[in-house]
Point group: C2
Chain length 215, copies 2
């Protein structure tokens, strides 16, 4: 049996965190297959037996690593919610800001978070962590929308979050250049916000006009 660690000493907690960080590194580089006791320990410059002291099984180690990483992301997003903006921030700045959160950290980092979301579907223990992260991302988006003047933006925020996540995924294919992706995303966010401001009646009318024009 592993995992009789009690972590009463701070040095011990630090070592555990280093192992988790090493595991995330390996996961980012080679997927879950790259995470083994020995590889994690070697990456963290710790003896091979150190992993079994802190984690009962290798699956626990993987779960904890992914969970800790996504939790950190949740915490970062929650912190951002409290950031104050300048008074006259416009949609463009806000869109760029939200975009930057997910998409502009480099494709590799985004891929990591996306992978954890996917993994959470298979791993019940991670589901709450993923849900929290998603909630935090949407809350942040709602908060930013409010600063910009949109008050009832829950559904809009959900769409924007989906748009950002999808763009991050699309980017993994390497089909499109970096700046054009960012432009596309900002433009789409602006479109969504504008449609929301104009209201469903205008959208309905516009689409009805489109249908009539086609005939």
């Amino acid at each position: 049996m592993g995992s009789k660690a009690q972590l009463t000493q701070s040095r011990s907690r630090a070592r555990r965190d280093e192992l988790l960080a090493a595991a995330i590194e390996l996961f980012a580089e080679g997927g879950s297959r790259a995470i083994t006791h020995r590889a994690v320990a070697a990456r963290a410059d710790l003896p091979p037996a150190s992993t079994t002291y802190y984690f009962a099984t290798i699956d626990d180690l993987i779960r904890e690593a992914l969970g800790a990483h996504i939790d950190q992301w949740t915490a970062d997003l929650t912190d951002l919610t409290r950031v104050e903006f300048e008074a006259d921030v416009g949609i463009n700045d806000a869109a760029a800001f939200v975009t930057a959160i997910f998409a502009a950290r480099g494709p590799e980092v985004a891929a990591l978070e996306l992978s954890i979301f996917l993994a959470s579907a298979r791993v019940p223990e991670l589901r709450d962590n993923a849900a929290d992260a998603m909630r935090a991302f949407e809350s942040l988006t709602i908060a930013i929308l409010e600063r910009v003047g949109v008050s009832d933006g829950a559904a809009l925020a959900a769409a924007i979050v989906a748009l950002i996540a999808g763009t991050a995924l699309r980017r993994q294919s390497g089909l499109y250049s970096e700046p054009s992706e960012a432009l596309l995303l900002t433009s789409a966010i602006r479109d969504l916000v504008a449609a929301h401001v104009l209201g469903p009646e205008t959208v309905d009318r516009t689409l009805a006009d489109l249908r009539r024009a086609k005939a």
Copy 2:
């Protein structure tokens, strides 16, 4: 050395395909960790040594399985592009149609395709397959937009694809009920199309109005 198979016999090709299908099944259930020679052979009801005859290494097996699956998806999408619609199809039907392609096949299947996209970022051999799939999806979306009356919809299609992919990802967290997700997605697609039809000037003006209203 494995992989001296020449596949001159159709039965042999069929067995190979069964192994690939079994590998995909295991991948969907337990990730890349679940794919081992023995597990794949057992799942396909074939002798343990059968995998080494068709695939030089286990990584080749994994790559080929993921590649074949995403290629099949590309082929399906390309076929759909050729489907003719009824004359007076509206945006709602079209949006529901595109939505169904990615999102309504059940979360598990969508997760599989998303996972392959993510994996393609790490595995150079899969990059072309992922790019082809993305292109096919966008081409299909462009084609559908044309039937609805939108002609210059390349950027719009990119946004819609991102939106759909992101919604599929968001759904993995299990935060939202199935029908509300579909509604949200359809609504967002309608908004994007409407904003596109109204044009950038209207969007600009609307956002400028919003900014003024806030102050």
